[in-house]
Each structure stands twice: as C-alpha cells, then as structure tokens.
C-alpha cells in the first residue's frame, strides 16, 4: 500500500514530464484533430516547455525536452533534432527571461512568450528549409504560433493550479 501511494505520488509529481512525452508520442496538435476547429491548432508542448522552464524548471529538465523533441521528430518525420533544437531554443529564451525578470507577472510572461515563440519557430523554419526537402504552409505555422500564444494564459492557470496542488501535497 505504501509502495502504491509512493508510485501514485511520483506519477502525480511528474505529470508534466509524462504529459510532455505523451504529447511528443501522440503528435498532438491542439484542436487540429477536430475538423471544425482546425484553425485553432496550437502547440501545447511549447506552452509546457515555456511554462515549466520559466516557473518550475526542476519539474521539467532540458534533457526531457531534448528527448521529447527527438521523439516528436521521429513521429512527425522532420529531420532528427529539429524539434529538440526548437524546444531548446525556446528553453534558452525562457531561461534568459527568467534570469532577467525580477518580478514574476503573468501578463509580462505572456508578452515575453511572443519573442520566445518567434525565435524558436525561426529556428524550426531555418532547419526545415535548409536541412530537409520538406515544405510546409507558412500561414499554418503562423496560425499555430498565434493560437499557442493566445491559449497560453488558459494553460498557465491550469498548470499553476496543478503545481500549487503538488506544493501542498509535498509540504
């Protein structure tokens, strides 16, 4: 019983990592699966990476981010390391923002998500264009980035709430 509760606790504490890997494996693209809501596709992995690197870096290590990115590349068929590099660039920007920011505020973090998204997508664009023969819809990438930015506050509150529960449980 003790072991079971310990496993349960471990899973609950590492839900962010599990979620990140699950998303990488499942090619989750927001609401893209729902044909009617095709336009609202967003990148939940990026939101998770940004949120955790910014607020709780101890819960989602860069090693996981790298590995998750590799898995994502294998699943979607992009050159190996593309998503890893994209996520790591995002992590780098987020780390910089975290170090440069004195006071944490959701609105500021939301705004700083724009340059972070921009640079990570820029890296993605460079790799796809120079390291593969793949072509993609720029407008789709732009839409995806826009809705990733737009939906950030929703997940910000959800993940914040989840982390507060973890903190309470661990206290």
């Amino acid at each position: 019983m003790y072991i079971l509760s310990k496993i349960k606790k471990k899973i609950f504490n590492n839900l962010s990592v599990i979620l990140f890997y699950t998303l990488s494996f499942s090619t989750f693209e927001g609401l893209k699966g729902f044909t009617d809501l095709f336009i609202f596709s967003f990148n939940l992995q990026m939101i998770i990476v940004y949120f955790y690197v910014l607020k709780f870096p101890e819960y989602l290590g860069v090693g996981h981010i790298f590995l998750g990115g590799i898995i994502n590349d294998v699943v979607i068929g992009t050159p190996l390391g593309t998503s890893s590099l994209t996520y790591l660039v995002l992590s780098f920007f987020t780390s910089y923002i975290r170090n440069a920011t004195l006071r944490s505020k959701m609105s500021i973090e939301w705004i700083t998500f724009i340059p972070a998204l921009f640079f990570s997508n820029f890296v993605y664009y460079i790799i796809i264009n120079n390291f593969s023969h793949l072509s993609f819809y720029y407008i789709e990438l732009l839409q995806n980035s826009f809705f990733t930015f737009l939906f950030f506050p929703i997940f910000y509150f959800i993940l914040n709430y989840y982390q507060s529960i973890i903190s309470k449980n661990n206290a």
Binding site: Y21, T22, F25, S26, T27, F28, G33, F34, P57, E58, G61, V62, G63, I65, F66, G69, I70, I71, V74, V75, P79, L80, G81, T82, S84, L85, L88, V89, S91, F92, S95, Y96, R98, N99, A100, I127, F131, S132
Partner: protein, 283 residues
C-alpha cells in the same frame, strides 16, 4: 552601458551553462547536441540512419499507444457528428413523412372525391349507375346568339326530364334544364347571361356566383369577398347552395389570357356538345 551589456552576457551565460538541481546536462550542451544530430541526419551517416531506424520502430510502437486517446477523442467527435447528422436527418425525414402522409391523405380524399364526382356526373364506367340516374339525350338545336346560349335536346317530360335538372357534356356541367316539353327540353348553358350558379373556388372557402357572359372563355364571378384575390389555374366547383346542384362539380377554371388578364372559362365546350347527360331528379 557596459554594465547592462555585462548583465546581458551574464544572463545568457547563466541561461546556457547553468544546470539545475536535478539537471544532468546544460542547455548549451543539449543545443550543441541537437545541432550535431540535425547535421548528421542531413549528412545521412549510416550510423545515424541505423539509429534512426531503430528509434523509429520503437517510437512508432509507443506512438500507436500514446496517440490512442487522441484518436479516441477524434473518433468520439466523429461519432458525435454522425449521431447529430442522423438526428438531423431523422428530423427531416420525419417532416417529409408528415408531408407525404398529408399528401397521401389528400390524394385519397381527391380519389374519393373524384369517384364521387364521376358517379354524380354519370361518367362512371358503371353503366347501371348511369342508367339509374341520368338520361342520355341528343342536341337537336343549338341556339347561337351573342347573349342567348341554349340548347334544345330530344328528350323531355316523356323521359322524366323536368325543369332544374343538370346537364353534362363529357365530364362537365354545361347547363340546366329551364324548359321541359313532352318530347324536348331547353338547356340554359352556363355561358348564358342568365345563368347564375353558386360556386366555390379551389383551395379556398370562398363562395360566389358564376355568371355567363355569352362567351365560354369569359365567365364572370360575382359576389366575391372584397379582399379576395383570384389566382390563375384554380378550378371552380359548384357549392350546391341553390339546392339543385351537388357540391363539388367542376364547372370552370381561372386562367391568364394572352393579354395577361385573369379570366374564367368553362371546362366544357357547350357549343360542341352533341350527346349530353341529363341527371334525373335533384342531386
């Protein structure tokens, strides 16, 4: 200025090189590794290709399991859509059934009414019925003046033809007996100025009096309600309010003339009638 530049460099270096409490790799190392992986993948090094092939097999297997909730959600969504489509279609079909049922009842009613009208017009195939209720007569004289429209038939009181009987040509009413002699009778045609038949109009409950005008293609409808607008292609039936004619006998129809005027014409052509049916007694 130099201070802020130093802060910037320190922040970048800190972000790149600093390892967290639980982290084994620095961001710089992993970014470098990612770049190396991308480059090796681009160069298609055999070792990387083999690794990728193994990785692919593993990841695809796990991906099948991991993507099942998403697929399930998508499946549920599609099924939900299908369900709502079925519900919607069902609703439409139900409405269609109601309309078709209504049409069927209407058709049944019309069929019944038609049979009834046929019977009453003595046009039924049932010879017994015709013999029982009508007398066949021949037109012996056709009075043709601009305003007096009447026929003389070869049957009269001898054959029990009396004043007020209805006269039919083919399927339609053409007039009434206004004068009965022993061996002959006079039929006042519906096109005559003096002919006044109480009628009702198809698809309405409006009653009026159909009056002749001398022409079979230009009958008049009198005593219609003020607000009533007559439409073309409507059949005019007898209303039976005079006590002689049975309700629902088709008499005339509305139509649009060449000069786009709404007019009423007789369904039968009394001037062409040679053999007619005179109904015995009142309807």
């Amino acid at each position: 200025m130099p201070d802020s530049r130093d802060d910037f460099i320190i922040a970048i270096r800190y972000a790149l090189l600093k390892k967290g409490a639980k982290q084994k790799f620095s961001l710089f190392f992993l970014i470098s590794l990612s770049i190396a992986v991308v480059t090796l993948d681009k160069l298609s090094v055999p070792f990387v290709q083999t690794t990728r092939a193994v990785l692919n097999d593993f990841v695809y297997k796990v991906s099948v399991v991991a993507s099942s909730p998403g697929k399930f959600a998508s499946y549920v969504n599609q099924e939900k859509k299908k369900h709502f489509n079925v519900v919607k279609k069902n609703k439409i079909l139900k409405e269609e059934i109601e309309i078709l049922n209504s049409k069927r009842y209407n058709a049944l009613f019309l069929k019944t009414e038609n049979e009834y009208l046929k019977k009453n017009l003595s046009l039924s195939d049932d010879i017994t019925y015709e013999n029982q209720f009508s007398v066949i007569a021949r037109v012996i004289l056709d009075q043709t003046s601009p305003y007096l429209k009447s026929l003389i038939i070869n049957k009269g009181k001898k054959d029990d033809i009396i004043k007020g009987m209805s006269v039919f040509s083919n399927k339609y009413l053409i007039g009434t007996i206004v004068e009965s002699n022993y061996l002959s009778a006079r039929v006042l045609l519906i096109t005559d100025l003096n002919s006044k038949i109480p009628v009702m109009i198809q698809d309405s409950d409006v009653n009026g009096i159909l009056a002749g005008s001398g022409s079979k293609t230009d009958l008049n409808l009198e005593y219609l309600p003020d607000q009533f607008i007559l439409e073309p292609n409507k059949i005019i039936y007898t209303s039976g309010k005079d006590g002689y004619l049975k309700t629902g006998l088709p008499v005339a129809e509305t139509y649009l003339s060449k000069d786009n005027l709404l007019k009423i014409r007789s369904l039968a052509d009394p001037q062409q009638a040679s053999i007619i049916h005179v109904t015995k007694g009142q309807f």
